[in-house]
């Protein structure tokens, strides 16, 4: 197989690009919030706007992989690939279970 770059699977490539876009957006948005939040926290202390920005940054960071999983579910559904749609839904449920565990632990403290 010695060829110029072939179009391996155009559909899979489009899926990858969409997911790449979600990941990129998440990283850029969360890094921006974290950088700004940290700068304000160092200047004025860790309260008010600084704290809101820092927590927003952390939450955006945590939500990015979740968003990627949700986009994948939609992509597998539109490809009528029910097996992988099901598996991806299981991953989403596991992430929700972690969030639920976080809430349980939070109440205990």
């Amino acid at each position: 197989m010695n060829a110029d770059r072939p179009a391996v699977a155009p559909r899979a490539e489009a899926m990858e690009r969409a997911i790449g876009l979600v990941l990129r957006a998440g990283v850029v948005a969360s890094s921006a919030c974290l950088a700004l939040g940290l700068a304000i926290a160092l200047a004025t202390g860790e309260h008010g706007a600084a704290l809101v920005l820092l927590h927003t940054g952390v939450i955006l960071l945590l939500v990015t992989p979740v968003a990627r999983v949700i986009v994948s579910i939609g992509q597998f559904a539109s490809a009528r690939d029910w097996t992988f749609m099901g598996l991806t839904i299981v991953v989403l449920v596991e992430l929700m279970a972690s969030a639920a565990a976080a809430l349980v632990f939070n109440r205990r403290v």
Binding site: G37, L42, V58, L62, F84, N106
Partner: protein
């Protein structure tokens, strides 16, 4: 929880940058360096160090995978399938970490760091297996274009059960110890499951975002994630891994691997000593 001031933030940023660039040079996440630095040098409780490290793992996974998207290197289907196992392992690890003494986590980290060092040393000469390009990749296999050889690489996944078990363990260790877990999955996927190294590494890097999130959410909910420290570490690791990838590609990594394996043995010994008290 430590109070954040400019000096501490800068120190953590630089620690993150050093861990991130080493990780990128060695093809690891930086967590295996960041966690012991935060725990042993800065003196943060192990769970606080692990929580910070997991946020940097998520950031690295997202930005690296975003950069690779469209190259067909990431095996999305295999990744999603194995994520079922890593997320379950990570969820259980995140809960377990809340009930386990710091000394146990330190000893486990020491054990994993030593194992990582051994894997690093035994794989110095490892090359990609030559694969038959005409095989049918099947449902889970993949096909990608490799620029160096100007060839289409096609592979089939073998021993899926082993890949699932390895992923579960990697997820478990990931959220217990605050590392990505790629060092556990990638050698197994490559050596026993028939996946070319680049595809195994790209798929693993893609997966660890979800893996680390399942663990990090629990630490965050528990109040063990200090956002200002995480911010400094995340920004540092991003800068470091960008630099490491940019300037490290040309350099031979062999001597670096030997050096880092030595460092990891020292880390393992220190973790054992702390954990043994």
């Amino acid at each position: 929880m430590p109070v954040v001031n400019a000096v501490l933030a800068l120190e953590i940023f630089l620690t993150g940058a050093a861990s991130g660039s080493l990780g990128a040079l060695l093809g690891l996440g930086g967590g295996v360096f960041l966690v012991p630095l935060l725990n042993l040098v800065f003196g943060f409780p192990f769970t606080v160090a692990a929580a910070i490290s997991l946020t940097t793992v998520i950031a690295t996974s997202s930005s690296v995978s975003a950069g690779r998207a469209g190259q067909q290197l990431i095996n999305m289907k295999l990744g999603m399938l194995l994520e079922v196992a890593t997320a379950a392992g990570s969820f259980l690890g995140g809960i377990t970490a809340q009930f386990v003494a710091q000394s146990v986590l330190q000893k486990l980290f020491g054990f994993v760091a030593a194992a990582v060092a051994i894997v690093m040393l035994t794989r110095l000469q490892r090359r990609n297996v030559i694969l038959d390009p005409t095989i049918d990749p099947g449902v889970l296999g993949g096909r990608f274009y490799e620029a160096e050889s100007r060839c289409v690489v096609t592979y089939r996944v073998k021993r899926l059960g082993l890949a699932v078990v390895a992923s579960f363990l990697a997820g478990n260790v990931s959220s217990l110890l605050g590392i990505g877990g790629g060092i556990i999955k990638v050698p197994i996927l490559n050596a026993w499951c028939g996946i070319p190294l680049r595809a195994a590494a790209a798929t693993s890097a893609f997966m660890i975002g979800v893996t680390a999130t399942a663990g990090a959410i629990i630490y965050y909910g528990r109040g063990q994630l200090e956002p200002a420290l995480a911010a400094a570490a995340v920004l540092g690791v991003q800068v470091g891994s960008w630099g490491g990838m940019r300037f490290g590609a040309s350099a031979s990594a062999k001597w670096l691997k030997v050096l880092m394996a030595a460092v990891l043995f020292v880390v393992a010994a220190m973790m054992f000593m702390r954990g043994g008290r």
